[in-house]
């Protein structure tokens, strides 16, 4: 079972478990925080966790496809952060509010 050798020889499992933990921390952030900016940051954490598992798989299977995917995910994440912050800034300028529960009241 769990012994010293399995801890000292870093394999794919170790990276995947770290990645899973990072993803879950991000998920907790999305679920329990109310500030929309912190929620966006938690989403970035989750995306980073996915990137970590992609890079780990890419390294251990010696296949560069995973890194290309990481590149794309980073692009999408940056675009998402840009638009999300643009909306947050616009709402904050108008209503002085960043609480996510306030956003429910926005109706067209």
């Amino acid at each position: 079972m769990l012994n010293f050798e399995s801890l000292a020889a870093i394999g794919l499992n170790h990276y995947l478990i770290v990645s899973a933990a990072l993803f879950c921390i991000g998920m907790v952030g999305v679920l329990v925080r109310r500030n929309v900016l912190v929620i966006l940051m938690s989403i970035e954490l989750m995306l980073n966790a996915v990137n970590l598992s992609f890079v780990a798989f890419s390294h251990f299977s010696q296949n560069i496809n995973g890194q290309v995917m990481v590149f794309f995910v980073m692009t999408i994440a940056a675009a998402e952060a840009g638009v999300g912050l643009a909306i947050a800034v616009t709402i904050f300028k108008r209503f002085k509010e960043v609480n996510i529960s306030f956003f429910e009241q926005l109706k067209g």
Binding site: T75, G82, K93
Partner: protein, 123 residues
Amino acid sequence: MNSLAPIIALTIFVVLFGTALLFLVSLVGPKPKNSDAKNSTYECGIDVQTTGHSKISVRYYLTAILFILFDIEIIFMYPWAIAYGDFIKEGQGLYMLGAMGVFLLIFIIGLVWEIKSKALEWD
């Protein structure tokens, strides 16, 4: 080649160096004699009216977001730039030029649009 340990070691060393300097000053320097005027926020001599975090123009933010988007487009050119010579040797130079040409066209359209839409105007 490409080992991480020296980078981490240098980072730790620099942090220790900076912290040591800060400690050295608090150890060697004279003890501060506090007074209200000295402790107050610097405001050219008048009393502080508002907090230090007053409203800031949204342009800073707009500049930052446009920076992110163009920065990623530039990063996309880096692998292309270093593989370009190899592609030319393999006779695929025109393909690579065309592939990046389309991308650069999109880049230029974006840049021209930003300039025309006056999103980058500071006054």
